[in-house]
């Protein structure tokens, strides 16, 4: 049997989303065209926009479709920076590279100053640190970006408190991992901007959305036909948008079931390897993500061995060449370089079963044994 435990990377598309996408692919019409076909496709897109707006509790005009979550993050960070004359960008130290890298780019090319807010050992944002920085630098801060939950550990961040501290400073939140997994309201959180992505929620790859507060106008990243509030020009990807909305509307994610599978897996791991450490265990976490350190191993060896046993999981971070790198998230939580490279992420989804958990647990001890041996010769 093969077991897929990498749902945080991408998760199967729901059948309704595939059906909706197929139907849309067969349909003719550019949503920007004025004739019958164009209007019909445009209607599908706007129906989809409303469904997504409803799911995330925002106005439909606040949904700006993009080609990915990364694009939405880039648009938010660069857009909110260029929106003002202020130069300070504040992010958490555990952001996804889709937030960190545009922020660093702005430092290098646009004279921005970046302040990273640390997290505690459970991976939760240090609010006191944030409070202090905001109190000292308030008038200089262009934006604050803190993710809703972390993609490596699943730890949920105190966004409500962040927005309270920020007051009128624009706050962006990367909610790619949280969307549809935990309750989420753009309006109630009081955010300026939020990022979501289609393929993490049972929709297709290649579609994301920037939720941008009404009347906040940011410079366009793509210029052209003026689609999407003139922020994101380009012919609308109707089939993917329709499928994204279909996945969100049907909402098949079963948080209770997924959390039970995750918990059962974690208990089994600790029973088999009492020295294993579950990162972020003490914090409020997403139902489906489990990040575990196996001391004395190297995660790339473990991944290869798990894969050979037909269990798919993740090492977290890799550079452009595909080389495994120490995770900045785990290191921000205080893990050493070595321990952070001894960690695996298992992420569960609605399609997983108890049998999957049992199978993964049955192969894990052998994999860890071989991983320990492989690491021991490496240090010889």
């Amino acid at each position: 049997m093969s077991v897929y435990l990498d749902h945080a990377a991408t998760t199967p598309m729901f059948d309704v989303a595939i059906d909706a996408m197929n139907a849309s692919l067969r349909k003719l019409g550019n949503p920007s065209s004025l004739h019958t076909e164009g209007r019909s496709t445009r209607k599908d897109v706007e129906d989809a926009r409303e469904k997504i707006a409803q799911a995330i509790d925002c106005l439909s005009s606040e949904v700006i479709f993009t080609g990915s979550g990364t694009e939405a993050d880039n648009a938010a960070i660069k857009g909110l920076f260029w929106h003002t004359d202020k130069k300070v960008i504040i992010v958490s130290s555990i952001e996804h590279h889709a937030v960190l890298d545009p922020a660093h780019w702005l430092v290098e090319h646009e004279g921005a100053e970046l302040i990273e807010i640390p997290v505690n050992s459970s991976g939760t944002l240090d609010l006191d640190f944030l409070k202090k920085v905001v109190a000292e630098r308030r008038s200089e801060i262009a934006l604050i970006s803190v993710m809703h939950s972390n993609n490596e550990t699943g730890v949920i961040q105190p966004i409500t408190e962040v927005v309270q501290i920020a007051e009128d400073i624009p706050v962006h939140c990367d909610a790619v991992q949280s969307f549809t997994k935990v309750p989420l309201s753009f309006k109630e959180l009081g955010l300026f901007a939020m990022t979501i992505s289609g393929h993490k929620v049972g929709g297709p790859l290649g579609i994301g959305a920037l939720i941008l507060r009404r009347a906040v106008e940011i410079p366009a990243l793509l210029h052209g036909g003026g689609q999407e509030r003139e922020i994101r020009s380009g012919t609308l990807n109707a089939p993917s948008i329709v499928a994204f909305a279909a996945a969100v509307e049907v909402h098949l994610y079963d948080a209770k079931k997924v959390a039970a599978l995750r918990d059962s897996f974690e208990s089994g791991v600790i029973a088999a390897r009492p020295d294993a450490v579950i990162n972020g265990k003490g914090a409020h976490r997403l139902p489906g993500i489990s990040n575990i350190t196996f001391p004395g191993t190297q995660s790339d060896s473990l991944l290869l061995l798990m894969d050979s046993q037909k269990v798919s999981c993740s090492t977290g971070a890799a550079c452009t060449a595909g080389v495994h790198r120490p995770s900045h998230v785990l290191m921000a939580m205080g893990l050493t370089d070595v321990l952070s490279q001894s960690s695996l992420r298992f992420s569960f989804g609605t399609t997983n079963t108890e049998a999957d958990v049992a199978y993964a647990l049955s192969v894990l001890p052998g994999v860890i044994e071989r991983g320990l041996a492989a690491n021991a010769v490496g240090r010889k």
Partner: protein, 357 residues
């Protein structure tokens, strides 16, 4: 067998992996990331381990239909190969980092890790052959004399040879390219890599100067008379004639050659062509791929460069050093190079040259 295929992204290792699969093995492709700061693209025929190379390796694995992973060996490579390369030059010797990489990385770090993970061996695209004999597995030259890489594999001990699989040794390179084409491997026409992978410019002296500085020192003749100045003794090689920048001509107008590099005094000694002649050499750290050599003199061949000639010699062990006495003198032999002894086409063993006479 379950084996790891070390895939560089080149044509040879791709075909080697494909042949290993066809031979009925369970093969997993691994690309070694040897640079912690890889370049995006290869520049010409030089270098490896670029992002483009890892992509090529991945595509080859896809076509062959095997799993593929990247192993980060950058730290091991830096410590075991790059640092050694610098310290050898600093000590006035001329190292061969490819041998060092085979000895310390490909058939040590990788093979050991593979075995610990439950694999039986490592397959590579080296051009060499192994044979099973009553004395165990032995290492032999490849059939293609232009591609033969037995020299750079002569640092492997018997245990390492037992864990190594070289499927290409029986085929000429030109046919490997044809085979790659027939197998649909996109790397079929990718240029061969030459020179030292971590010196992508090909300018060893410049690379060394950048990292080790260029301390000016004297160039002297054999009597100690100063003839000129150099910018770092370690950038010279024994036998080098060009680039000495000497303005004082010899009496008879004959050219001067680098005879000796003295790292402690940062001195380069030059002299006539005749003074370069070497008739015997001694090597330290001997490694035997097959039966060990004893004190009794034996007849065979010695090779001192990767694609150098096999020179007739008599060889034996003395004071735990490997000695080779040449039938004909050889011009310009640097310490630090590897001497590899052959018995016909069989690799007997190797040692690092520490003394010449």
């Amino acid at each position: 067998m379950r084996i790891i295929a070390a895939m560089s992204g080149g044509v040879d290792s791709a075909v080697a992996a494909a042949r290993a699969v066809e031979a009925g093995n369970e093969v997993i492709g691994v690309h070694l990331a040897l640079s912690s700061n890889p370049q995006k693209y290869r520049s010409g025929a030089r270098g490896c381990c670029t992002i483009e190379d890892s992509h090529d390796a991945r595509r080859a694995a896809d076509v062959i239909g095997i799993p593929f992973y990247i192993w980060d060996m950058a730290d091991e490579f830096h410590e075991g190969v790059v640092e050694n390369f610098m310290s050898e030059y600093k000590a006035g010797r001329t190292p061969n980092p490819c041998l060092r990489c085979n000895e310390k990385i490909k058939f040590a770090a990788v093979l050991d890790r593979a075995k610990a993970m439950g694999f039986d061996g490592v397959v590579t695209g080296h051009y060499a052959r192994t044979r099973e004999s009553e004395n165990g597995r032995t290492l032999h030259r490849a059939v293609d004399p232009l591609k033969d890489q037995s020299y750079v594999l002569a640092v492997l001990n018997r245990e390492q040879i037992n864990g190594a699989i070289f499927p290409l040794g029986d085929t000429e390179k030109v046919d490997i390219r044809k085979e790659a084409q027939a197998r649909g491997l996109a790397v079929a026409q990718k240029p061969d890599s030459h020179d030292i992978c971590f010196v992508p410019s090909g300018d060893n002296a410049g690379w060394l100067r950048e990292r080790m500085g260029s301390e000016v020192g004297p160039i002297v003749d054999q009597d100690g008379n100063k003839l000129g100045e150099h910018k770092g003794a370690y950038t010279y090689t024994i036998g080098q004639r060009k680039g000495l920048g000497l303005t004082v001509p010899t009496e008879d107008g004959s050219p001067r050659f680098v005879l000796k590099i003295e790292p402690v005094t940062n001195t380069v000694v030059v002299g006539s062509r005749e003074d370069l002649a070497v008739t015997s050499m001694r090597g330290e750290r001997p490694i035997f791929c097959g039966p060990e050599v004893g004190a009794a003199p034996l007849r065979g061949f010695v090779q001192v460069r990767a694609h150098g000639a096999a020179l007739d010699c008599t060889y034996y062990m003395e004071n735990s050093q490997l000695v080779a006495e040449l039938d004909q003198p050889l011009l310009g032999l640097a310490t630090g190079q590897a001497m590899v002894i052959y018995d016909g086409d069989r690799v007997v063993g190797s040692a690092t040259i520490c003394e010449t006479a």
